[in-house]
């Protein structure tokens, strides 16, 4: 049996046209064990352990990424040889056991562009596991930080402003707070509606990773490209990725009754329109509604997005700066809503 598998693997490797696929570098035994290796290099995910050189996999971007303090994220998927991901009817991508979603976070003007951290989301037989690694000072390897850490950094945002923050690498539980559905860890970004495989990847290569690559049709607009969709649709895409991982009926914020998925009715009270605060505390900012149509200054959804105070800020984890460009889009969306007759 093993020999047959090896033969299939070899065939697949040939058919990938030379692109790296299921390379010998990735240690599937480690990936699929229950191990939490103290060093990232144990997985063999990078050539020479250089974060700029994935040893394998299909890199991808997202139509709307989760904002993380203006970090640039480099993402790729490693799938074991002979296995494929499948796009389900509802657009959720089902990854086989042994898959690793690799995401490196950094800024071009910090550490000469080397990432600060690399997060792994690993599909094991027992389910998804999240492991956060922080790159060592010498940049040669990264070390597991289960308990998370604050890393002082100074960087410029696109508007030219310099930010000096204590960037929070999340602890493993915080990974799950966002990546949670009915208490189980799940990926957030890679859904067909949001997923953009590396445009350089050939159809053949996509076919090696996906059973049905044609189903990868991102219906969400590019959140920051006005040409790609209306203000409303771009706002919905932004909310889907930045909020709905918690704000859905099976997520960490299920009790709030505020549900912000791409598939939710954007005019409904559960989308925040005319919705009074629930368990918001100081997050209400003295306002009556999450979204007051036509009035972003009296919409506490905006107030919370524009705050960095831990008792007020949303999302609750993963952000020490305000995403001005995202907030501006949501302000425009609310401002353009017809005023309600409350």
């Amino acid at each position: 049996m093993k020999r047959v598998l090896a033969a299939i693997t070899a065939a697949l490797l040939c058919s990938s046209g030379g692109a790296a696929f299921a390379p010998p570098g990735v240690d599937q035994a480690v990936v699929e064990s229950d191990a939490m290796p103290p060093k990232l290099s144990a997985f063999g995910l990078f050539r020479g352990n250089d974060p700029a050189q994935p040893a394998a996999g299909l890199s991808y971007t997202l139509r709307a990424p989760l904002f993380s303090d203006y970090t640039e994220k480099h993402r790729f998927i490693s799938i074991p040889a002979g296995k494929k991901a499948k796009v389900a009817d509802d657009g959720v991508i089902e990854f086989p056991v042994g898959t690793v979603l690799v995401k490196s976070f950094g800024w071009s003007d910090v550490n000469n562009g080397r990432p600060v951290e690399t997060r792994l989301l690993i599909r094991r037989a027992s389910g998804w596991t999240a492991l956060p690694y922080i790159w060592d000072a010498d940049g040669k390897d990264a070390t597991l930080a289960l308990g998370g850490r604050r890393v002082p950094v100074s960087f410029k945002s696109p508007d030219g402003e310099t930010h000096s923050i204590r960037y929070a690498v999340p602890n493993r539980n915080q990974c799950k707070e966002c990546h949670s559905l009915n208490g189980e860890i799940v990926p957030i970004g890679p859904k067909a509606r949001n997923f953009l495989p590396d445009p350089a990847a050939s159809d053949k290569l996509r076919g090696l990773y996906f059973e049905n690559p044609a189903a990868l049709k991102p219906v969400m607009p590019q959140w920051d490209d006005p040409g790609s969709g209306s203000v409303t649709d771009r706002a919905r895409a932004y909310l889907d990725v930045n909020c709905a991982h918690c704000h859905n009926p099976a997520g960490s914020a299920s009790n709030s009754g505020l549900f912000l998925r791409w598939t939710d009715d954007p005019a409904g009270v559960n989308f925040g329109v005319g919705k009074r605060p629930t368990a918001a505390g100081r997050g209400s900012g003295g306002m009556d509604f999450a979204i007051a149509p036509g009035d972003p200054d009296h919409s506490f959804l905006i107030y919370r997005l524009e705050s960095t105070d831990p008792g007020i800020a949303m999302p609750e984890v993963g952000r020490s700066t305000v995403h001005r460009e995202g907030a501006a889009l949501l302000r425009q969306w609310i401002a353009e809503m017809p005023k309600a007759s409350h």
């Binding site: 308990g147 009790n255 009270v269 605060p277 918001a280 506490f300 609750e316 984890v317």
Partner: protein
């Protein structure tokens, strides 16, 4: 120790014995407040704990910058005490997370530590069945301030919740808040100088007893709100509590429902059914000892039931009340009635039975649509009618009671 009414002091030795009797596999993970990177080390301990383990918090003041979280079932987090000299988790310098400690796993036991000055909520547990909060202190040490966090102790979306012998002070919403949960006991606890002392919201089957709710804006609240995943609050018993001097001016951030609670409220029931208020001791609640009202805000939830129904008030002891009613026109009504309104206030919507030998003031608002400006306040007799069958005592799983014995 600022605790009052702790009936389990003598049980300390028993707890030690119980620990020794743990199965061999369960281990105690001790973390010291003096550890460098104590925040990270404590968080690691909470992540690496296995079911059955105890995470032991050393005595001392822990200066924490980031919220903690626990997602492993059947773990005990035990400190060296909640008072001075105990295990004090001080979040005064908090930089991240919506609460001090978040629990998302079942069968967790939290005992003998304090959480101070969190930026958001104190201790939250979500979807954490059979959680036990015991001998904890959650406090905003500067007292009532609008900038304090919202909830002190905050279980939500859980079945079987026990809150026993805790002390909560300074929450800008509710000191002890149980939301969207079922089978709940809150007992032997002290809630002081919060906006709401104890609040049971969108929940059913709760016993709130032998607590002291004092110097809050409102002592004990039983609420139901619209547009939430779980609603239809019912079967709540509030008994044998001391509810007095709830005179702290409301300091909740506006927009939140508790910002509308009048200063001087003892027990407030809003939009629930089958609530029993009995054998409590009320005194010096300037608006009312007991208030029974409907939900009067506009809402778009066709499934929501905004009226109080089948409310029973009996066998309570009423001290002074109603001498400073904080609702529009309240002072004029009080003046017209000789300086104070009766200790029980009903807005006139829904139904209630009041068997206490005290007066009831009805605002005679027949439904929740009629604006408060059309109130026609007048004494009402709610002693007629047959009370519904008494609610049963809430019984929690024996494993939970054993933890606090």
């Amino acid at each position: 120790m600022r605790f009052h009414g702790l009936r389990h002091h003598a049980a300390t030795l028993c707890i030690v014995a119980a620990l020794a009797a743990h199965p061999a596999a369960a281990k105690v993970i001790s973390v010291s407040a003096a550890t460098p990177d104590a925040n990270e080390k404590l968080q690691e301990a909470l992540i690496l704990a296995q079911p059955g383990d105890t995470v032991q918090l050393g005595a001392g003041v822990w200066k924490l910058t980031d919220g903690l979280s626990l997602d492993v079932a059947n773990v005990t987090v035990r400190g060296a005490g909640a008072g001075e000299g105990g295990s004090i988790l001080d979040f005064t310098g908090q930089q991240g997370a919506g609460e001090g400690l978040l629990v998302t796993s079942d069968d967790v036991f939290l005992t003998e530590f304090a959480v101070l000055n969190t930026r958001g909520d104190g201790i939250k547990s979500k979807g954490a069945d059979r959680i036990v909060y015991h001998k904890l202190r959650v406090e905003w040490t500067a007292g009532p301030k609008e900038t304090n966090g919202a909830y002190g102790i905050y279980p939500v979306e859980s079945s079987d919740v026990l809150i026993d012998s805790v002390y909560v002070r300074g929450a800008s919403d509710a000191g002890i808040y149980v939301g969207q949960s079922k089978n709940i006991v809150v007992r032997d606890s002290v809630a002081t100088e919060n906006v709401a002392g104890i609040e049971i919201e969108n929940s059913h089957d709760a016993d709130v007893h032998d607590n002291v709710a004092t110097k809050n804006t409102g002592g004990i609240l039983v609420f139901d709100l619209p547009s939430l995943p779980m609603q239809g609050g019912h079967n709540v018993r509030v008994f044998e509590n001391v509810v007095n001097d709830n005179s702290t001016p409301n300091f909740a951030p506006k927009g939140n429902i508790v910002a509308s609670v009048p200063t001087g409220t003892g027990v407030l029931i809003m939009a629930n059914r089958n609530v029993e208020i009995f054998d409590n001791v009320f005194d010096r609640n300037g608006t009312a000892n007991v208030m029974i009202v409907g939900y009067r805000y506009e809402h778009k939830d066709p499934k929501y039931q905004p009226l109080p129904k089948q409310i029973v008030v009996r066998d309570n002891q009423h001290g002074k009340a109603g001498y400073a009613p904080q609702f529009p026109g309240g002072d004029m009504i009080a003046a017209a009635m000789g300086g104070a309104i009766p200790p029980v206030l009903w807005d006139g919507a829904g139904d209630a039975i009041v068997l206490d030998k005290v007066g009831v003031l009805s605002l005679n608002l027949p439904d929740v649509k009629t604006p408060q400006s059309e109130a026609k306040p007048a004494p009402a007799d709610l002693s007629k009618g047959t009370p519904p069958a008494a609610l049963p005592t809430i019984k929690l799983p024996d494993t939970m009671e054993a933890k606090v014995k």
